[in-house]
Amino acid sequence: MSAAAAVIRIGLTPVILDDQTTFLNAWRRWLEGRLGQPVRFVQRAKYRDITDLLLGGYLDAAWVCGYPYVQHRHRLRLLAVPEYKGVTTYHSYIIARAGTDQRITAFKDLRGGVFAFSDPDSNSGYLYPSYRLLSITRDPDHFFRRSFFTWAHRNTVDAVASGLADAGAVDSYVWESYRHLHPEHAGETRVIERSPPFGFPPLVTRARLDASLASRLARVLHTMEADADGRRLLSRLFLDRFVEPRDADYDGIAEMAAQVEARRR
């Protein structure tokens, strides 16, 4: 099979909110037009699945969270990073239900409650809150009465809003986009804690990917804002543009990961 006709497979995780088929079709077609090759998006429920597919060679690229990237830093290469509200960073938000539950104002108030994580490989949805626990309690496994994974950031918002969980941890970008798209749900959750900034979930490829393909992909993404259609697609994602990523931006996440894993051993 010649390289020109080979399908480019890009994995997607719940780091982005809009996994609607119509949007993805439009984006796919735009990429196909720019790359001159067929493109396919691949979605899976868990971050781990996408990471595995990427490392296994089935996927050529994937949009992942910073945490899986740092976990496999030596086998992955950064392609592009979104610029959101002028910066290439985002935060982890600890959210609680709005309204009557005003007694919860800080992380420590969550003792004995029910907590919703997003994905075990999510920085904002798992790593950061776990890291926070380390500084609050000596027995992080029993701090909450019950905790569980929702497998998607928007699910975490739903879980907290419905009362299934007392609080949860979400990606700030997803949380804000969700409120933008569904103003009727806007008032149901509130942020009780904001993390320091971390590197925005990047688009990565495996290190072994063909270098020309990798650079072509990168170039297409970086010039997306130059194109009218591309800008339209970016605005659907509430993003300014894609830019050249900086590896150092993910050191923060790596540091937290090291501490949390050390604690676990």
Partner: protein, 480 residues
Amino acid sequence: MRFGARSYRTRIPLSLVAVAMGTALALSMVMAYETYLNVQVDNLREGRRLAHAMIPVLRQALKHEDVWQAYEILRGPAAGPQEGSAVDARRFVLVDKKGLVFASNHPLDYPVARPVGPLLPGPNGFSWPPGEQPVTRRLDHWQMMVAPILSEDEVIGHLLVLLPRAAYWDRFIEIVRGGALVMLLVLAVVLPIGWIWGRRMVAPLARLSQCMARVGRDDLREIQCSIATGDDEIGTLGRRFREMLQGLRQKEALERQMVSQERLAAVGRVAAGVAHEINNPVGGLLVAIDTYRHTPLERRQSDKTLDFIERGLRQVQEAMQALLVESRLETRALQPQDIDDVQRLIQAESATRERRLHWHNRLSGPVALPAGSVRQILLNLALNAVQATGPGQRVEVVVEPRDAALVVEVVDEGPGIPQHHLERLFEPFNSGRAGGTGLGLWVTYQTVTQLRGEIEVTSEEGRTRFLVRLPLGEGGASHV
């Protein structure tokens, strides 16, 4: 208005309508009750089915400790476009084997990882059912189904399905409302039909009744009715009535014949007297003519003789007039002259018998009564009185208007009518007199009745009195 007092034209249709409505109502109530029971059963069945569908996935969620997945399954039935509150109102609670809430579709009411017992309705003391079959319980306003979740014969949790009884009510009301609408539509069609049908059933009876009511009121010859003739009871009534009407008509015709016969018979009775009355002046007239012929020419007084003859002939004419009138049917109003005519006729009769006749005609003008009928009554009673008295006995006749009526009073000094005869006095063919028709008083009675009057008789030895009172201004029958 009492129900029983209303006409059958209302009662029958009303009864039909009442029966229809009563049936509709009874049916409605029975069906409503059935519906309520069915709604309960349906709800329970659906709850069971849902539980059955959810349990395999819930089993996996329990084993994988996947709270979110369990939540997504449990809120499935209510997700999507909002239906009525009934679906939302159901509670699905997944409980782990320690009795703690694992997940539910109403997380605020059933917090995760809390014991479920205190959260359930009804008095505390909830215990897990033994065995592997689902169990249904009633708690307060809820119906609860408990289904154990098994993994390789080990109970790893339970699914609780709570159905609020209020939900039945909404659905029940919905169904009943629909049913009531249909019922009303059906009634809207059936009731008018029932009413009309009832009316039509009763119509022949009503017509027959109306016809019968006319029998006493109107002339029999003028009563024309369309009478039902069928095989049913009303048809039989109709046929009998028609036969009866025929009979009545024949009887009336016969009576009319008898009355006119009696009139002629009465004329016959006075004929002799009248003949006598005519004979007397006629004899005198012939004598006068003879005298004239035998008078020498120069002494003949033709004027005087002619006057005398004229007067005599007038007398004859008047006598004949009275008789002629009597033999004719007179429908004109009564005049005082008529009373004088009858007196003349009676006079002739009584004179031959040397009765003393005292006659008092107190009419001053015409009277609104048929002349023929009154003359016949008067003639009959007066003749009877004259014939009942002996020589030298008195007969007194008074005819006068009194209190908006014409009063005819005939009194005689005869031997009187015996008591047993008095009771049957006005019956036909009942004269105590040989040679008579026996119809005189019967006809008199019929005539008086036809004129809406009264006749009264009192009798004792030496004095018999007949009193007739005929009201004026009433439309009596214009026929005899």
